[in-house]
Symmetry: C2
Subunit: 205 residues, 2 copies
DNA sequence: GATGGATATTTTGTATACAATTTAAAATAA
DNA sequence: TTATTTTAAATTGTATACAAAATATCCATC
């Protein structure tokens, strides 16, 4: 768990640009100019190029511009997400470890009692635990990539606590705990569907 | 459908390296040295680096080496694939266009009558059509990426025609044509499961 | 005022040079 | 021999310079 003290410029550049996109400092549609970013960070263009390429692969940048995902894009992401997480929830009902289950419960509890930041982190972790429990690196990787795009959307939404979200998490947790696989899958899919609709509605405003 | 006459070096490098990996000229586990590849192609390291980074994102290269996927890796890929293609088959049964359906039938027919190369291409296209019919770019993108890894495996297997493969394709096609969504999904999942097992068995030899 | 084309500017793509790191090799001690 | 430290070689990471391409600017023409 020890982080390498890697001070590689391209890693730094990647994190820097990524954070600025996700935080909204770099607005959607903004064109990213290699030289400007390089100067801004006091490094050369080479590592900046690397990181931009990587972010392009991840879907946060398209044609040198910060992505500006449409409603349809979000629907597409959620269609895949529903598939993966529905499966994962089903899988968990049978195979999840006691340890992971306990962590899951903890996320639900924090969702009820924590500060805004804690709640947000716990809700994110709730889904991460479930997907992570599949022990399928391919699935986890796809999930991670989608998270960025989803976050880009949610950010605009996140201050408004969605009603019932925690209750839904609790129900999913219960279904998993009781090994009700199909129920867990159904609840997860419902949950994500509601989340999608909430995001889309808030976008219009 | 007109290809850009792009003579960008990094595109060329990408295709060159990718083809050499998929064809097997660059064996699994081989370390890719930027300078050697650059010299080999008569270009500088810069575009070679770009293409290696891209191939790393795609999963064909890991830590400067050609990937050497294990049985488990293939299982993980197929777990995701089954999920996506099962959904896609289900979706097709309701929403596929007549045009796509006709192309699907064509793939089945070629599977019975074509040359080895034609059959291989048709079988690949069969799955591409079904996934493509979802009109979900996110799903299509994930599918495409997995294809490379799958191909890497199948290549060692491909000369041995798997029995019943075409019949399975035909049955899936029929289920889609008759709008039997759940049946199409079930058949697709069975089909992929058999394919996976066939691959894994052949690997052992 | 709009349109089209030549010119200038910006930005990206590529090559090369050098620094930092990693990896391999050699030499020495146990 | 085996292990361990030192040294050398290979390889990657970064900076910089220049070429090619894309974009914007300006001016003439309609």
């Amino acid at each position: 768990m020890t982080k390498k003290p890697t001070q590689l410029a391209y890693v730094h550049a990647y994190e820097y640009i990524r954070d600025r996109i996700l935080s909204g400092e770099l607005e959607r549609g903004t064109k990213l100019v290699e030289e400007r970013l390089a100067e801004e960070m006091g490094i050369s263009r080479t590592p900046v190029r690397d990181s931009i390429r990587k972010l392009e692969q991840e879907g946060l940048i398209k044609q040198k511009c910060v992505v500006n995902p449409s409603d349809m894009d979000l629907r597409h992401v959620f269609q895949v997400r529903t598939l993966l997480e529905g499966f994962a929830a089903n899988y968990c009902a049978t195979y999840i470890t006691d340890e992971a289950l306990a962590k899951l419960k903890n996320c639900v509890d924090i969702g009820r009692t924590g500060t805004i930041e804690e709640v947000m982190a716990a809700n994110k972790e709730f889904h991460e635990i479930i997907v992570g429990a599949t022990n399928n690196p391919v699935m986890i990787d796809i999930f991670d990539r989608m998270q960025s795009i989803i976050y880009l959307f949610r950010k605009t939404v996140v201050l408004h606590k969605r009603p019932l979200l925690i209750e839904e998490h609790h129900d999913i947790y219960e279904a998993i705990r009781q090994h009700h696989a199909d129920e867990a899958e159904r609840l997860m899919k419902e949950h994500l569907q509601l989340d999608l609709e909430f995001c889309l509605n808030r976008m219009k405003g």
